[in-house]
């Protein structure tokens, strides 16, 4: 039973993620007054990439993207099977770390710059991820997703401010403007695409699939905030995920990339203030 569940998670997550990305491309195109690709375009892209010849700059740097994908899949399994949210965050950052190491391994100027920026981004969003986990633990007394989403009231009731902070750092995870310093999703931000500069063919397809998983994991956090033990709240949570994603698309199309100093300091200040305020108020009312 659990094996089937794991297999389903592994298969369905990227399908949903790919659809979301396709949806994103259509919406973005309409906002820019274009027709846009068909909604299944991300899948066509990946299929085409897989069939292409893989060209590489050295023998090693391909492994890191596969490793990164493995760990991101592991995160998805832990998260969507109701596992420990803190463990999920740790494995997620391990996956992201391998992705950056892939950038370093090529020792190519563009990808190293991308890798350094990716590290910076990780440093910028990581505190908020921990604060989210801490806040969820506070209201449900458990790190397990299955326990958190079976409380009588959804976590958002107690953690509205932490949720705002989480939305603030979400563009880092979704690789969207204004915080898409390392690898941008679209070509409108950069011509040479950061870490993925030196990847081609199958390895590039892997990066794309990894991104689908990451998108779903990021939205999974949004889901956890809204879900409670009645089924209607789960529906609301899914709707909220879509609303948040829609908001990120609009944000992506209406902002430009910020400088790294601003990305780092604003993320740290926002997560520090919002996190401390929310958690202190919570502990004051003694939950």
């Amino acid at each position: 039973m659990s094996v089937i569940k794991v297999i389903l998670i592994i298969i369905l997550t990227p399908l949903a993620g790919g659809l979301l990305v396709g949806f994103d491309r259509v919406i973005s195109a309409r906002m820019q007054g274009r027709q846009g690709p068909p909604i299944l375009q991300p899948f066509y892209d990946v299929l085409k990439l897989i069939s292409k010849e893989t060209i590489e700059v050295n023998r090693f740097h391909r492994f890191y993207v596969y490793l990164s994908l493995m760990f991101i899949i592991l995160t998805a399994v832990v998260m969507f099977s109701g596992g420990d949210i803190l463990l999920a965050i740790f494995i997620l950052s391990l996956g992201a770390m391998f992705f950056t190491l892939g950038g370093y391994a090529s020792w190519s100027p563009y990808s190293v710059v991308g890798a350094e920026r990716e590290l910076l981004q990780m440093m910028a969003y990581e505190p908020m991820m921990f604060i989210v986990a801490a806040g969820l633990y506070y209201v449900s007394n458990s790190f397990f997703v299955s326990d958190i989403i079976s409380q009588s009231k959804p976590a958002i009731v107690y953690l509205p401010v932490v949720f705002v902070g989480f939305i603030y750092i979400l563009p880092f995870k979704l690789r969207k403007s204004p915080f898409d310093l390392s690898v941008s999703e679209e070509a409108n931000q950069e011509v040479v695409q950061g870490i993925s500069t030196e990847y081609s063919g199958r390895a590039l397809a892997v990066i794309e699939v990894t991104h689908w998983y990451e998108t779903m994991i990021a939205l999974g956090f949004v889901f956890v905030f809204f879900a409670a033990d009645n089924k209607i709240s789960h529906l609301i949570a899914v709707l909220m995920c879509l609303v948040v994603y829609m908001f990120e698309i609009i944000l992506d199309n209406s902002t430009v990339r910020v400088k790294w100093q601003k990305a780092l300091s604003s993320a740290w200040i926002v997560s520090g203030i919002l996190g401390i305020v929310n958690l202190t108020v919570l502990s004051f009312f003694n939950f």
Binding site: E56, M70, V78, I276
Partner: protein, 640 residues
């Protein structure tokens, strides 16, 4: 019982031998044998006594006490004279006051105090003993090879190897005494010996900088010793005991809290927490084996060991709150500062202070889970950090630099060294390894203790930690071809063996931590608290074990990728992308005037954003204010 006495005295014997034997071959042989025998003795002691523990009481200890007193007076006289000679009058003052206190105490009050257990080997001191014994002896073997290469590189330094080795063994002996004693006077004696040894080791090269830094370390640690001595005197005169185990089982009354506070200050100086951290950074001028010995595995751990011992009296008391916040300030401050230096040893130093801060935080929160995390952190940090120190030392010998920027060729120069360094770094912060598991538990226990501030600080400190290790890891993984580059020196076998063993220990520890938890840490906590701790990652959690094994096997795949096994089909390789201006070798490009230019990539050090002076200043101020607040609160309590 004889075995434990032997364990403490054996390194002293070796020390005398290596000091007097000038023939290098014989001396090296003695060093190696001595180290191996020390490790074996440690293991035998652990096998015999670890399970049930042992307490030893000496009927008559006057002879030992008088010997210790004589040595202490001698040391004090030397330190006072050095203070006058170097115009460090503060040092002389510290040393003078404490020796007067101790002598007065020994001759008057102490006679009425009866000490039951002089030596206590329980699970915690057993763990410490294993760390000191095994890592310490590996470092001793390493020192044999390293010092040889060191003197070939550094012709300007006068060769005093036998002195160096002798001090290292004295130090080991003192560390054994420190962790095994229960009598606070004995602990104090060993404490002072380690302080003095560290002074001698840091000043080994006798350059102006080394002398200055050695004196700085001495001033700060003797200051800590003063605080320790004051605690002993108050404890003896007001509470009529000298036993650590008796102290920790007392009710937190006023005098008990004062003693605990003073002992914690001493621990903070030893563990180089803010505002006493400057000595550890300065101590990096010393040859690497002593850095590894002093700053990773043993001496700095003495401070946190004491805090873990005192943890029943910390928690929500004044001393506990102050310690937690100082630990938090240190953890965050040093994690940020570790981003800035280019010098590998300095990064290691900052990260050591930061991790000790984390251990201080965990230990002083004082709940069962946080203590579990503290002890586990202590073990993992000792293992990984000593591996990294030794590796960086050898890297300096091999590539002639310890600048992180120069390590981009390392993978091509010495695979072994770079893989062990990668293992060490992963051990410090990546997922399946122990540091992260302890952080996980620490997080949980901090939230349970309702201390929001330290939860948030832990989150920020961890993020910064990830950044500085990540960029170093990236540098090591970059596979730059070493062009026009000459290897400075081959690695010696005496260096290879300890590094290899430590790397294996780090790898094993990430699978073996449930065993350490089950057989050592949990029984220790049960004996202190009565109930077993609720660890989120229990030993019985099979899903998690499967995950762990999966992750470890994934991590083994990374180095596999570097082995040309022929398993992977050869693919088309192209030069890297340089906007179409490559000149053919991946390291040069055609510049705007058609001139060939070298492409140089450097890591991110953020010196403008993270101003070292400012951060250090504010962290020092904050923790000094915290200590003052602690003193005021204690006085306020007395007034009530």
């Amino acid at each position: 019982m004889e075995l434990i006495v032997l364990l403490i005295l054996f390194p002293l014997l070796i020390s005398v031998l290596v000091f007097f034997i000038k023939n290098e071959k014989i001396r090296n042989a003695i060093m190696r044998c001595g180290a191996v025998v020390t490790a074996v003795l440690t293991l035998v002691t652990a096998v015999l006594y670890f399970k049930d523990g042992i307490m030893i009481s000496f009927g008559r200890s006057e002879v030992i006490d008088v010997c210790m007193l004589i040595v202490e007076i001698g040391l004090a006289a030397y330190i006072i004279l050095t203070g006058f000679k170097e115009k460090k009058y503060l040092l002389s003052l510290f040393s003078f006051v404490q020796i007067v206190m101790i002598v007065w105490f020994e001759l008057s009050e102490k006679r009425e105090i009866e000490v039951q257990n002089y030596i206590v080997l329980d699970k915690l001191s057993g763990i410490m003993m294993l760390i000191v014994g095994i890592i310490g002896s590996l470092i001793c073997i390493y020192a044999v090879g390293y010092m040889k290469s060191y003197h070939i590189h550094h012709k300007e330094v006068k060769e005093r190897k036998s002195f160096f080795f002798a001090v290292v063994f004295v130090f080991l002996s003192a560390m054994f005494g420190l962790v095994l004693s229960n009598n606070l006077l004995w602990i104090y004696f060993c404490w002072e010996i380690t302080t003095f040894c560290s002074y001698l080791l840091i000043g080994y090269t006798q350059t102006d900088e080394a002398k200055h830094n050695a004196l700085l370390a001495l001033v700060i640690n003797v200051g800590g010793g003063l605080s320790f001595a004051a605690a002993i005197v108050i404890l003896g005169t007001k509470l009529h005991t000298l036993e650590l185990s008796v102290l920790t089982s007392m009710e937190p009354g006023f005098y008990v809290l004062v003693c605990v506070f003073l002992l914690c200050i001493a621990a903070l100086t030893k563990s180089a927490q803010f505002p006493f951290s400057s000595w550890l950074l300065g101590a990096m001028v010393a040859p690497t084996p002593s850095s590894a010995l002093l700053h990773s595995a043993t001496m700095v751990k003495a401070g946190v060991y004491l805090i873990i011992r005192l943890s029943p009296l910390l928690g929500v008391t004044v001393a506990g709150r102050v310690m937690t916040l100082i630990g938090a300030v240190t953890f965050l401050g040093c994690s940020l500062l570790a981003i800035t230096p280019h010098d590998a040893k300095k990064v290691l130093a900052y990260s050591t202070i930061a991790n000790l801060g984390l251990i201080v935080m965990c230990a002083s929160v004082g709940t069962q889970e946080s203590l579990w995390a503290a002890i586990l952190l202590l073990i993992f940090h000792a293992v990984s950090k000593s591996l990294m120190f030794l590796t960086v030392g050898s890297i300096e010998n091999v590539i002639g630099s310890r600048n992180i920027e120069d390590m981009n060729v390392l993978m091509q120069v010495s695979k072994g060294l770079s893989i062990s360094l990668i293992i060490g770094i992963c051990g410090m912060f990546l997922a399946p390894f122990g540091m992260l598991i302890s952080k996980w538990v620490a997080m949980k226990s901090f939230i349970d203790s309702k201390n929001i501030l330290i939860v948030v600080i832990l989150a920020y400190g961890s993020a910064a930690t990830m950044f500085y290790w990540g960029k170093w890891l990236g540098k090591l993984n970059c596979n730059r071809k070493p062009k026009g580059y000459e290897k400075q020196m081959e690695l010696r076998n005496d260096e290879k063996a300890p590094i290899f063993f430590l790397a294996v220990i780090v790898l094993l520890s990430c699978l073996g931590y449930p065993l350490a938890s089950k057989y050592a840490i949990v029984p220790f906590l049960v004996s202190k608290f009565g109930t077993p701790p609720v660890i989120p990652i229990g030993t019985g959690d099979q899903t998690l074990m499967v995950l762990m094994i999966f992750m470890v096997s994934m991590l083994i795949l990374v180095p596999m990728g570097h082995v040309p096994t022929g398993l992977f089909p050869k693919r088309r390789e192209t030069p890297i992308y340089m906007a179409g201006e490559n000149s053919g070798d991946d390291q040069h490009f055609i510049g705007s005037f058609g001139i060939e230019r070298k492409s140089d990539l450097s890591n991110w050090y953020m010196e403008e954003v993270l101003n070292v002076k400012k951060i250090t200043f504010w962290c020092n101020t904050a923790s000094a204010v915290l200590i003052c607040a602690g003193i005021i609160l204690l006085i306020g309590r007395w007034g009530m």
